[in-house]
């Protein structure tokens, strides 16, 4: 699944990242590298700190300690739109689109964000290349047939796919997905997993997921968080065989 990407090259690294909320420690001293071309899954039971870690990686808020380095550049403390412009795109855990706009318009706005932001004069209808790119992305995620429908009228699974198309609009060098299958039916989950596998063929993807089973088959590497700390890090086979992970996940002793 790593394709022909150069193995071992680091895209992003977290160095001693920790997060405190009003004295509550959500994340402590997480150090890891995300390698180029990998599909990395971050898993862990509820309250493990997955979402906190995800939010720090995507720039939603800065960590209270530690550094985030992206492509050799320290980006700790930068604002979220800067993360996006640098090449880190995220999709949200809760569906997050522009409900009253059409699917195409949703993606077109995301495409436009990388090039023009303060043009108050050019008519929108001249942005044909952006529309073309938006349609191409909708094709990729399987939404081309619904491209003129308003986002609010799409099915849940389709809205999630739309969101991924929006995340891809910036040609990100790191794609972060937060529980992309949350609330999906088994069929929708299947389709989403296929889509993610397809996207990961030539992209670096980090996936946060609650359900371990889902990611076992498709990930190159799995990171397990527990009580805000790094519990395990390795290939799916190693993780499956790891006693500590089993104990945490099954909630059983021994």
């Amino acid at each position: 699944m790593s394709g022909d990407a150069i193995l071992g090259e680091t895209v992003l690294s977290a160095n001693g990242v920790g997060m405190k909320f009003d004295g509550f420690r959500a994340l402590a001293n997480v150090t890891l590298d995300i390698r180029k071309g990998d599909l990395t899954a971050i898993i862990g039971p509820n309250g493990a700190g997955k979402s906190t870690f995800f939010n720090i990686l995507s720039g939603a808020f800065p960590p209270s300690e530690g550094r985030i380095v992206f492509e050799g550049r320290d980006i700790t403390g930068r604002r979220q739109h800067e993360f996006a412009r640098l090449g880190i795109a995220k999709s949200f855990q809760i569906t997050n689109v522009f409900p009253q706009l059409t699917a195409t318009e949703n993606v077109r706005i995301a495409v436009q964000a990388m090039k023009i932001r303060y043009d108050i004069w050019t008519p929108r209808c001249r942005l044909t290349e952006y529309v073309a790119k938006a349609v191409e992305l909708l094709n990729l995620v399987g939404l081309h047939r619904n491209r003129e429908r308003r986002a609010e009228n799409l099915a849940h699974g389709e809205q999630r796919a739309l969101e991924i198309a929006m995340a891809l609009a910036s040609d990100p060098r790191l794609l972060l997905l937060d529980e992309p299958t949350a609330g999906m039916s088994p069929e929708e989950t299947m389709m989403m997993m296929n889509l993610i596998t397809k996207l990961a063929e030539d992209r670096t993807v980090v996936l946060v997921e609650h359900k371990m089973k889902l990611v076992m088959g498709i990930s190159d590497r799995i990171i397990v968080l527990h009580h805000g700390e790094l519990l395990a890090d390795g290939a799916p086979g190693d993780i499956r065989a790891n006693d500590e992970v089993r104990r945490v996940y099954l909630g059983q002793t021994g």
Binding site: V97, P99, L101, A110, Q112, A113, R117, W121, P123, R124
Partner: protein
Amino acid sequence: MSDIGIRVFGNQLAITIRVVARHRVAAVIATLVLLPWVVPYEALSVNILLFGLYAVGFNLVYGYTGLLSFGHAAFFGVGAYACGIAVATFDVNWLLAIALGTIVAGFVAMIMGGLAIRTRGIYFAMVTLALAQCVYYILYQWTDLTGGENGLRGVSVQAVNILGLELNLLDPMTKYYVMLVFVALALWIFSRILESPFGAVLEAIRENEKRARACGYDTLRTKWLAFVLSGMFCGLAGALYAIHLSIVPIETANYTMSGQAVMMALLGGMGTFFGPFIGAAAYLLLEDVLTLWTEHWQFFVGALFVFFVLFFPRGIWGSLLHWVQR
């Protein structure tokens, strides 16, 4: 038979509304050209024209970006005073004075927006209200420059010369059409802004600011720019108002003026191009009619406002648009 008549009328109305919505700038300007011929007297049509522009400017942040500002009186007031002082005290050319009013209002919006834009919802409304009150008190206290409580007098622009054409602004009809030229130009620019990629970003922020940020937009700066542009349109309306009245009453900067912008935009239909003018016309015509037989006209305007908020939150034009698009 009458049933068919109603249906035909309904279809005609629907077609008309669609045409107006599609050619919005042309439609609004055409309506404004005809306005003085249907409104009882010219002063009222000038008021509809200028308050309409004021409400349009306000609508950029309220209807299109989703920010409820309660401080737009500051821009209308500063636009009026800057233009008025330029003409009355410094004898500046009237065209230059109008430009000055617009720019100074934009500058005030830059400062007010810079301070307020980080806050949200009710806090944004309160901060803009408080800052507009500061502006009001500066205008009120600076008697030497503004005339204070008595207002600024002597903003007289009587005869103007446009490209060799001598126009007498004391003639109400001439005045109306001269003002209309400015309003039409402003509306055209406004429409371009809405149609631009920047206009698309404003819509995106109104729909989902968090997502817009994740897409890579600096939403604070975008909202700030929208606020400044909005302030400039309101400042232009104020500058024209000063020339229209030949004086600048201190009430132009009063907080009730901010409330009027909200009412007009809501009555007409927020986030629609035509709405603010319909709202301004409805508000001012109602005021005009009601003051004839009761001094408590504000009670009835208030009641109508509540009625619209409860039953037609899209406003007059917004509800019509929704009806044809259903």
